[in-house]
């Protein structure tokens, strides 16, 4: 996806997502980079909220993982892409996990479908035993 010839990516930042404090750090880091890219106001909050949901999934359901943040220029549009990868148990039924209100834990079950609504692009790749990778982007309007 990101390897497409038309896209130019700046240096990527990767941070570990292992515990509670990393969720807060991920929120701050994503907000910082989004601001540098040119996002303002509501978009900054939408991005930080989506990051909070997905990184919490890593902390709650996997033993740990990492998040890579990249500022992206694709043709004339500029945006920010997040790749969140874990080596956890994976999700056996991704379609089910993307439905509002579905949770195998004690959560409200809005994390994955909610994060998709907050971002412009959202992709999840997961299978049982293989871990989970969520890639999401937001573009400047």
């Amino acid at each position: 996806m990101l390897e497409r010839a038309a896209s130019v990516t700046d240096d990527a930042i990767t941070i570990p997502i292992e515990g509670d404090a990393d969720i807060v750090a991920a929120r701050l880091k994503s907000r910082q980079l989004a601001k540098q890219v040119g996002f303002t106001g509501t978009d900054l909050v939408l991005i930080a909220t989506a990051i909070s949901e997905i990184t919490r999934n890593i902390v709650c359901y996997a033993t740990g993982g990492q998040m890579t943040l990249t500022a992206v220029t694709e043709g004339r549009r500029r945006g920010i892409t997040f790749v969140m990868r874990d080596q956890g148990p994976g999700i056996s039924d991704v379609q089910q996990a993307m439905r509002d209100g579905f949770s195998t834990g004690k959560s409200l079950g809005l994390g994955l479908p909610g994060a998709r609504r907050l971002m412009d692009d959202f992709q999840i790749v997961s299978s049982a035993g293989q871990g989970t990778t969520v890639t999401m982007s937001k573009w400047l309007r």
Binding site: R27, T49, E53, G114, L118
Partner: protein, 124 residues
């Protein structure tokens, strides 16, 4: 980083900080629940005006605090939800059902006084 809880008459006021972790929030929930009994508080006010992310965990914790407060005989009001935060919560599908909200601390105290006053009159 624990959240300081202020006592203002019958009301407990907690100002949630910007960079709250999940365990900070859980600690606040437990602290408030025990303080209500300690101070015989009738109201709990949570100020989120400096918070820029209220995600599903935070919302669930706020709902828990509201229910804990109710069970302990106090009412909860949330004040200061910022416009972008409200937009994000609606997009996420989060609903703070049945929890009174107010624009800021001042409006919250006014709302709380009315609510607490009502329940006092009922008790008589």
């Amino acid at each position: 980083m624990p959240v300081p809880i202020l006592k203002q008459g019958d009301i407990l006021i907690a100002s949630v900080q910007e960079a709250m972790s999940d365990s900070d929030l859980a600690l606040l929930r437990d602290d408030l629940t025990s303080r209500i009994g300690e101070f015989h508080s009738l109201g709990v006010m949570i100020d989120v005006s400096t918070v820029d992310v209220l995600d599903s965990f935070a919302t669930r914790t706020l709902l828990d605090i509201a229910e804990n407060s109710r069970l302990r005989g106090a009412k909860m009001v949330i004040v200061g939800i910022q416009p972008p935060v409200a937009i994000a919560m609606v997009k996420l599908g989060l609903i703070l059902d049945g929890i009174p909200t107010a624009h800021d601390l001042e409006d919250g105290i006014e709302l709380m006084r009315r609510n607490v006053g009502k329940s006092r009159q009922r008790d008589r």
